[in-house]
């Protein structure tokens, strides 16, 4: 494809063009990084501690026994004693851990439900906006600006903020969660989608447009088949992200994996943290495998 298209390469007098411009930009970035490093070093904040390796090994060993093993192999009678020896609590570790695992399954399912619907809604909302934003599809300028503004703002507004606002609007409950996730993720999707479209080989798309096809026809016959693999993998990525990281769920009174993680972190429950990490890793690996499978079939 030739670079001579209707997209006018904008030249700014205050910034060199082409490689020189990029080099200058890189120089600015390097300067910024050096500045950040220097401030940290100057305040003596950049240190690797006294014995990082010992600590690392110690920490890793703490993760070695995930709590889910207790559901089968834990003591059936575990006594919690005070310093003076009085028994404060007796628990059946197996039952407790089984209950925790059940709670974990419920939390995962809740997050899964909300994230699935939220992510789907986000993708559906983001798609038309991404089409307007992608420069190479040449949507009318004002529409493109409007769409870009919507995407930037939704991406800027934290899911928690959306959640809080929405709880006030549609009341407590999953609806608020779904909408909050959808609105925030929409911004991420829109950006990723638009950039996939922008890095498309335009020759084939131009050829479709040249037949006199309508904009939607150009999209469905020229753009969609080419970007579908990337859309699918972006969708799976955002979906997965929403499941493993949902911080919105506390606000609406549901559990969610993200909250269980921060709870385990704050209680130093390493073995539970290990269990949670196993679940999340399984989730990530599963989504990634699915994503690969689909891309493989599509590419």
């Amino acid at each position: 494809m030739n670079a001579v298209t209707h997209t006018h390469a904008v030249n700014r007098w205050w910034w060199p063009a082409g490689r020189a411009g990029f080099a200058l930009l890189m120089a600015c970035y390097a300067a910024l990084v050096v500045l950040c490093l220097a401030t940290l070093v100057a305040t003596g904040d950049l240190s690797f501690g006294r014995s990082p390796w010992d600590n690392l090994l110690k920490t890793l060993s703490e993760f070695a026994r995930p709590s889910l093993l207790d559901a089968w192999f834990g003591p059936e009678r575990l006594e919690y004693r005070s310093d003076d020896g009085t028994v404060l609590r007796v628990e059946n570790r197996r039952a407790v851990e089984a209950a925790y695992l059940a709670g974990l399954a419920r939390a995962t399912w809740v997050t899964f439900q909300i994230a699935t619907l939220g992510s789907l809604l986000a993708a559906l909302l983001a798609l038309p906006l991404a089409l307007l934003v992608a420069r190479n599809l040449r949507a009318p300028r004002p529409l493109a600006w409007g769409a870009k503004a919507v995407l930037d703002v939704t991406r800027a507004v934290h899911t928690l903020v959306f959640g809080l606002v929405l709880v006030g609007i549609v009341g407590l409950g999953p609806t608020a969660g779904v909408l909050a996730i959808a609105l925030h993720s929409m911004g991420t999707y829109g950006k990723l989608f638009a950039e996939s479209i922008e890095s498309l080989d335009m020759a084939a798309v131009e050829a479709v447009r040249a037949t006199g096809a309508s904009p939607m026809q150009v999209f469905f016959h020229g753009v969609w088949p080419s970007v579908l693999p990337q859309f699918v993998s972006h969708h799976l990525y955002v979906w997965e992200f929403n499941i493993r990281d949902s911080t919105i769920l506390g606000l609406i009174g549901a559990g969610g994996l993200g909250l269980l993680i921060s709870e385990a972190v704050s209680l130093f429950q390493w073995s539970r943290l290990a269990t949670l990490l196993l679940v999340v890793i399984a989730l990530v690996v599963g989504f990634d495998a699915l994503s690969r499978r689909i891309r493989e079939a599509l590419l």
């Binding site: 600590n55 004693r81 005070s82 404060l88 506390g250 009174g253 709870e263 704050s266 130093f268």
Partner: protein
């Protein structure tokens, strides 16, 4: 004891929980105290502010932080998992103790904890502090448990949020009841953030130990050092008369305490299963 830690001139890492809105202010608040300790112990003291006590406890546990001023529950965890030892407890208006409480608003119709946990309170909304909070979560949760109530089942909705948010929402009537502690409520009333008339206390806990100054397990074994540290901290109270900036307002010094003083909290942790038995 590693020679490096004992040697004169090796800096001591002093971690402080975030008691002020931002790090800079917090650092400024505790720098005089750090300077005081540096002078008395004859070693430089690096001050490090941490917003979340997990980080403080964890780094204390691994010996990356030497001494810390931390909340009681954080201390109990650090002691439980890493053998960190309390040397002194801070005094608030002369007392080393405070109280957890449950508040409601006057229109709720709830008069006592029994009301809240009985038929009258069923299906209400309730807010704990975050799950790492002593007075906001652990103590009230322990109390509910002793009375055989599972809050997740008893209440229609249970939230975990910040102390200030609990007070604001309860007085605004957005929540039926919530857990808090006396110092926060007093401060908010004093600042005019809530009105005392809208905040009704329906339950108060047994006295709870205040924030602890703890040292890492390694340092704790150095009895001489611990004694010098306790002495240095004990001097703070009298010095406040001339150097008011040593501690924030209302804090009046330190008193030497040991691990046993924190037993009520440890017991609550064990009884609720939040602390694993050893």
């Amino acid at each position: 004891l590693p020679a490096a830690l004992r040697a004169q001139g090796t800096p001591l890492n002093f971690g402080v929980g975030m008691f002020q809105p931002d790090r800079e202010k917090n650092d400024a608040t505790y720098r005089p105290l750090a300077a005081h300790l540096a002078a008395r112990l004859g070693r430089p003291v690096n001050l490090r502010t941490v917003d979340s006590w997990e980080g403080l406890a964890k780094s204390l546990a691994n010996g990356e932080t030497d001494l810390a001023l931390m909340g009681p529950w954080g201390y109990v965890l650090a002691n439980h998992y890493a053998g960190a030892q309390v040397v002194s407890t801070i005094l608030y208006q002369g007392k080393p103790e405070y109280f957890g409480m449950i508040v409601t608003h006057p229109d709720s119709g709830l008069e006592t904890l029994d009301d809240l946990l009985g038929a009258k309170g069923r299906g209400r909304s309730f807010a704990f502090g975050d799950k790492g909070s002593t007075s906001g979560y652990l103590i009230p949760y322990f109390e509910f448990q002793k009375r055989g109530i599972d809050p997740e089942k008893h209440f229609s909705r249970v939230l975990y949020t910040k102390h200030q948010a609990i007070q604001t929402q309860v007085t605004a009537g957005q929540l039926d009841a919530g857990a808090d502690y006396n110092r926060n409520r007093d401060a908010m009333i004093a600042q005019g953030l809530i009105s005392a008339a809208r905040s009704k206390v329906i339950w108060q806990s047994a006295p709870l130990p205040n924030d602890a100054v703890a040292v890492s397990a390694t340092l704790a074994r150095d009895a001489a050092f611990v004694r010098r540290l306790q002495e240095a901290l004990a001097e703070v109270g009298p010095l406040l008369a001339t150097q008011a900036q040593l501690l924030p307002a209302n804090y009046t010094g330190f008193v030497a305490r040991d691990n046993a003083f924190y037993k009520p909290i440890r017991d609550a942790g064990l009884a609720t299963g939040k602390l694993e038995p050893r």
